[in-house]
Symmetry: C2
Subunit: 598 residues, 2 copies
């Protein structure tokens, strides 16, 4: 059997930065060639970044992607890498692209994979299965490919596929079996979700069995707005053996020697299809994809004396996984958008303490400004806890008391109750934005998912900010993350911030529990209602107190309006607020009871 | 030929308010029956409101829609309306609905039309063509129907279709011809766009010819978040004659007597299809839809002595059309969300003056609070113009000078330049939100599309607010609207607000023209870049100055970040910011030149 040394480039790219992404491809390709690899595979849409959303309707963007690909092929040859096969994702279109979304919705634009060799684009494949659920809108953007490309490279038949192709039964993987491919290369931009790595391995095994071929699964790493790509690239044989697996949340060049059946030794398709019943459970449609065969003029190389094994990276605990996702999500948002630094308010409470610790892990303490903004209602321990956090993390610490500004509003307007509470939060927002304008920091907001869900925040107050690391993190998980992080080296978060009862400190002796149920009771209801779309009766049947369910659902229904004006943040759950939860603001269907004006 | 008296119910519904919408259906059905109608048709999704977005993934919502439909049928009979055929749009699902977006994207959920008669649901049809472009995401939400329902009612064969079915060639209209239907009923929730009414009539004519049948086109009226439904319902014969047409932006029961070929008099499909070549230009696929025939036990009635003609409503000028859309958009947003009143800042400038006039037209002066918030940089004429506007419109006028609050920040922080300019706008935002919290008003923000596009606004400053009537209105159109409105009765807008050069008044002698090109030059570039996705080279080729194009495109690219945190507002153009323009925030593809940090 021929042996192929392949490199899985689990790397980061930036949407729109075609030149920068091409440079990264050349850099990683050089490293792969230096390690003796014959083929390197990059993630889906590596050249353009992913997701490109409505940029796809811009012809100038499509043309930049196509031209960038051709230039990249030539540059790789000029780099002396002409005999390395480079598989890279990019966006393409059939003929001249249509001019707008309205003109031709989704027509002719392709989520494509190309194989570059000898200075040329020698093979292309267009993604067949297009996801159109959750965070995905690909029916809006792309037309599905209808043929499978099988490349004969160094004596081995390799089928090219893209991302969702592996998540649905039938289609390219079935066609790969018909084509007698020894290996299916699946390039991805698969967003992180808590425990998604537990789903991926069985999925890849199932498709490998379906294709009767080794599956090489390459995923992107990095963050793009609310999405975090976690890597977790892997190689699985047709028999279900995990040969190699990369870690999560770090760039990595995973190099592995694969012994694969030679192209001419693979039994013909009919025999193979008849002989082995597929061990899958889904009903699938064989789309009868046409098979396009391409021969790449690369000779098999003799097997290396030292067989290269990429190894299997260890899995990490849930808290470590989420923490890494939040750190990466923030770091990429800040760096890819060109901010030098961030600023956030430090209340002494758990949420701002955790965000500060994430920011320091992501950017280093010299790029993080923390501002304590005490009012007359701020307790002494709050100020002490904020100062303690600053000392532990080494961030740039400032104090700006808000009382003089609050008093100037109160002296000129007749305000009472909630209006006065919110006023304090808004004065803090004005201070943070003034620092942002004056010094150039990105403002971080720190409301957790539980607060966002029930609307326990001040619009244009504590919700001010361009990015929110905790946007998709329920309060109970915030505490878990804080405790876990404090076990990793020097604990950054003051114990007192973790153990004291949470309070907004906007009126004397205020506690979250005055307005909200215990978070242990609240979070499961939010998870059922938001992440799983359960109805009121389902939630009661699941054992939640009926009156509490009604109360919480009413709060969540009414908070939609505030959530529309909140900052993006990393998605870590099944359904984050934002991209994959789209609800009408104007809506009188209330699981929590009859309609009441907001 | 049998004569059918039909009623087109061009009416308003509210998303989620199934009980309220059902009550409206009963009310309008009573009116139609009193006028002698045999059939009444309501818009798409009348029972649930449209669009329902991710509510479709909530089983409890689907069940409420189904149960509501059955109850409605019984209630209509109880009302004595059992012999009126009532066609109504609602959401349905095949069997028990799937539990979440992830579980089964778009599977089994239907955008349906039902015919109610005699207390029963006697016929159903599922929308076949699903739009998935612009503001539409229907591939995410629904599965397409594959059969055409033809109802034999009072001696006439009527094909049921829904909205997008009429925008695409082939499918149900072709099948209606095959089925020999005399009439195709097309129920819609078709959002307004400037001049869309000019497109609709030729479209309906083309489909009527294609089907060889009279087309009855019923559209919703009313607003839902950013969408405005304008009505414009109509009846067009197979020969292309416009028999009757409703107005725009008002609820209306259009009643018309239609003489239609009797079901048994229609030639068979083969003869008909062969005999008449279709006068259409699109290539279409005949989806070979199955035809389901339903017989409703209603006898033909003798023709009325007095033939009822619905008439053809006059078209109005563009400015009148847009003004009506903005008034309806605001009125429905405020009323459907249960706000009693609105508050906005009055600068004396054109934008806030136009928004105030729209608000007074929408809600009456007693529900509109206008606040003048002068600073040290506000000119005397600005205060006078604001007061003049208040006097002309009769709104509730207040004055809150901002200098004391601004000074309290300046005394405690070291701020300069842009930070001081933005501080003033943010203090105004805090004042408006304090009034909102204290008195319950919805805050209106007033930035026009040109400002939003280039980011000429203060985040959390003048962008504060829950709704923005001018979100999709370019500055040059704001002036046109003001001039037009002042010709309609007593002019509400001071001439000085229209004629003076625009200024933010955040520093001495500041003018918009210090920072922005002339709006006459700016607006065409924004239209090309935003609405039509033209690239830099296309815009230069269209005659725009190259340096100006580069400058404007850079501003638009960089402003994406601010736009994400802006309020919804009515869509009036091809591509409003918001629902139908989705771009990554993190994105280094810049038509305007190389990437520069935001």
């Amino acid at each position: 059997m021929p042996t192929l040394r392949i490199a899985l480039a689990q790397v980061n790219s930036t949407v729109g930065d075609i030149a920068g992404n091409a440079a990264a491809i050349r850099r990683w390709s050089r490293a792969a060639a230096d390690a003796g690899a014959q083929l390197i595979a990059f993630p889906e849409m590596m050249l353009t970044g992913y997701p490109i959303e409505d940029l796809v309707f811009r012809n100038s963007f499509i043309e930049a992607s196509r031209a960038g690909l051709a230039t990249l092929a030539r540059d790789l040859r000029a780099d002396g890498l002409g005999d390395l096969a480079v598989v890279v994702g990019y966006v393409d279109a059939d003929g001249p692209a249509a001019t707008s979304a309205e003109a031709a919705p989704g027509r002719g634009r392709r989520d494509s994979s190309a194989l570059l060799f000898g200075g040329e684009v020698v093979a292309r494949y267009d993604k067949h299965h297009l996801p159109n659920y959750g965070v995905f809108d690909e029916d809006r953007y792309f037309e599905p490919g209808t043929s499978l490309t099988v490349v004969r490279f160094a004596g081995v038949d390799i089928a090219l596929t893209v991302c969702e192709d592996i998540w649905q039964a039938g289609g390219p993987f079935t066609a790969a079996r018909r084509a007698g491919a020894s290996m299916v290369l699946n390039i991805n931009a698969s967003p992180y979700e808590l425990n998604k790595d537990d789903v991926r391995l069985p999925l890849v095994k199932r498709r490998a069995a379906e294709a009767g071929a080794t599956v090489v699964y390459v995923n992107a790493v990095g963050a793009q707005d609310e999405l975090v790509f976690d890597g977790d690239s892997m190689i699985v044989t047709a028999g279900g053996e995990l040969l190699s697996r990369a870690g999560q949340f770090t760039e990595e060049l995973l190099i592995h020697d694969l012994s694969l059946p030679a192209a001419d030794a693979v039994p013909n398709q009919a025999a193979k299809t008849d002989a082995e019943p597929l061990p899958i459970v889904e009903q699938f449609i064989d789309d009868e994809m046409e098979i396009v065969r391409v021969e790449v003029p690369a000779e098999p190389r003799p097997a290396h004396g030292d067989k290269h094994d990429g190894g299997v990276a260890e899995r990490v605990a849930d808290a470590a996984e989420v923490w890494s996702a939040l750190v990466l999500g923030l770091r990429d948002y800040v760096n890819k958008n060109g901010f030098r630094s961030v600023v956030l308010g430090l209340s002494g409470g758990i949420d701002s303490a955790v965000v500060a610790a994430i920011a320091v892990d992501a950017l280093g303490p010299e790029r993080v400004v923390g501002v304590s903004m005490p009012s007359g209602y701020s307790s002494g321990h709050s100020r002490d806890d904020a100062a303690d956090l600053a000392k532990r993390t080494g961030l740039d610490y400032r104090v700006e008391p808000i009382q003089p500004m609050v008093d100037s509003f109160l002296a000129n307007m007749s305000l009472s109750g909630l209006a006065v509470e919110n006023l304090q939060a808004r004065v803090r927002g004005v201070i943070l934005m003034a620092l942002s304008n004056q010094e150039g920091h990105l403002v971080l907001t720190t409301g957790n998912k539980s607060e966002l869900a029930v609307g326990y925040s001040t619009l244009y107050g504590d919700s001010v900010g361009g990015f929110n690391p905790l946007k998709d993190v329920p309060k109970t998980m915030v505490w878990q993350l804080a405790r876990w992080r404090n076990t990793q080296g020097e604990p950054p978060i003051p114990d007192n911030s973790i153990s004291k009862p949470p309070s907004a400190e906007l009126r004397p002796s205020q506690l979250d529990s005055d307005s909200l149920p215990d978070y242990d009771l609240l979070d499961p209801i939010i998870k059922g209602y938001v992440d799983h779309d359960l109805g009121r009766d389902d939630l009661v049947a699941a054992g939640n107190d009926p009156a509490l369910v009604d109360r919480v659902l009413r709060m969540v229904d009414l908070a939609e309006y505030k959530r529309r004006q909140s900052a993006p943040g990393p998605k870590i759950s099944g359904k984050a607020f934002g991209r994959d939860r789209r609800l009408p603001i104007t809506n009188r269907f209330r699981e929590g009871g009859a309609f009441r004006p907001v």
